[in-house]
């Protein structure tokens, strides 16, 4: 099947040889099996669950493997209000995730604190961890989250995988 990405392979035309850039091959592997970690902290998590369920079906994009251990997933979906009390836990979980890792801030609260301008709420999860994609909405529709994940795939496809590879 011919794809519009940089890495395409047609067994009929090309036989057993693939010519590509290693970056493109690595990114192709990474972006097509993003395992999410559901960081469900508030009502956005309900939409996150809907995204994973049959009606919206995140499995269409190879992302249905929700992992609750930080050692296994690739993308943390921060879905909900991050309180100051929860913030160190979110940060620790992010730090425990293995490279490469990405973060989606889902919804107004995770992005900016949302309507919670108060003493108890962190004003955006980007205060403690780097965020790749922000999703607007309160809460965002599942389509918005899927769009964010597809945008994240596009972002991953542009990354320089080798240059940023963490050496052991």
């Amino acid at each position: 099947m011919q794809t519009r990405t940089e890495f395409g392979y047609d067994a009929k035309n090309e036989g057993d040889v693939v010519v590509t850039r290693l970056d493109a091959a690595i990114n192709w592997c990474r972006k097509n099996s993003l395992w999410p970690m559901p960081m469900g902290l508030a009502c956005c998590a309900i939409e996150l669950m809907a995204t994973g369920a049959s009606r919206f079906d995140i499995a269409r994009f190879g992302m249905e493997v929700m992992r609750f251990s930080p050692r296994q997933p690739d993308v943390m979906i921060v879905a909900g209000t991050v309180t100051y009390k929860m913030a160190p836990v979110v940060k620790r979980l992010y730090e425990q995730m293995t490279e490469p890792k990405w973060v989606i801030a889902m919804g107004a609260c995770a992005s900016t604190g949302g309507m919670y301008r108060s003493y108890a709420v962190l004003q955006g999860v980007d205060n403690i961890i780097p965020v790749d994609i922000y999703v607007a909405g309160c809460p965002p529709r599942p389509e918005a989250l899927l769009d964010a994940l597809l945008k994240l795939q596009q972002k991953i496809a542009r990354e320089r995988a080798l240059a940023t590879l963490k050496r052991p």
């Binding site: 100051y84 009390k85 301008r117 709420v121």
Partner: protein, 192 residues
């Protein structure tokens, strides 16, 4: 058995310590004059008046008035189905009340909540830690002299807080609006 009857019996037992019952919308409230005697009153209410269910403990900060602090106990009897509300006040700067965990186990978390958010201490409480905010947080955020936006703080090994931006935010109430609709939090266009 009615709530008025409960209040009468309480007054018969404790005399001047208990105020005359105030009834408002079928709810009966009595004021306990000396906060330090509160545990005895509660023990009597449970053992002799059958108020075996502590529904809630809440607290009020009348900032700028004396006495500043009020603690409210909502009692209920599963046997007689009557509600009774006890109120007691404290004028101390750092108020301390006797715990009622010895009377009702349920008071444990309620008192922790009052301690956490309002800063009242409960003498004799078995485990008086914060319950909603984290250990090491220096303030009691439901006090009236604590700003809604919060204050900067730093907890070793814990979160660092900053004051939330309230000015010009998208969901901010406008003080002094002409009616409730104008004061309502809503998306606003901030002028450049």
């Amino acid at each position: 058995m009615t709530a008025q009857e409960l209040a009468r019996q309480l007054k018969a037992q404790f005399g001047d310590l208990i105020s005359a019952p105030v009834e408002f919308r079928d709810e009966v409230t009595v004021q306990v004059a000396d906060a330090q005697k509160l545990a005895e009153v509660c023990a009597f209410a449970k053992q002799s008046l059958g108020c075996d269910f502590l529904l809630d403990i809440s607290s009020v900060d009348d900032y700028g008035e004396t006495p500043r602090w009020t603690v409210v106990y909502e009692l209920y009897g599963l046997g007689h189905h009557c509600h009774l509300r006890l109120k007691t006040s404290s004028a101390e700067a750092e108020p301390e009340l006797p715990t009622v965990t010895g009377v009702w186990q349920a008071a444990d978390w309620h008192e922790r909540e009052v301690y956490d958010l309002m800063g009242m201490r409960f003498r004799g409480h078995p485990d008086l830690r914060r319950i909603l905010m984290w250990e090491g947080y220096p303030y009691h955020p439901l006090r009236k002299d604590f700003p809604l936006a919060g204050k900067p703080s730093e907890t070793p090994g814990g979160p660092a807080t900053q004051a939330a931006p309230l000015e010009g935010g998208p969901f901010v109430t406008v003080a002094g609006g002409k009616d409730a609709a104008a004061r309502e939090p809503r998306a606003r266009v901030t002028e450049a």
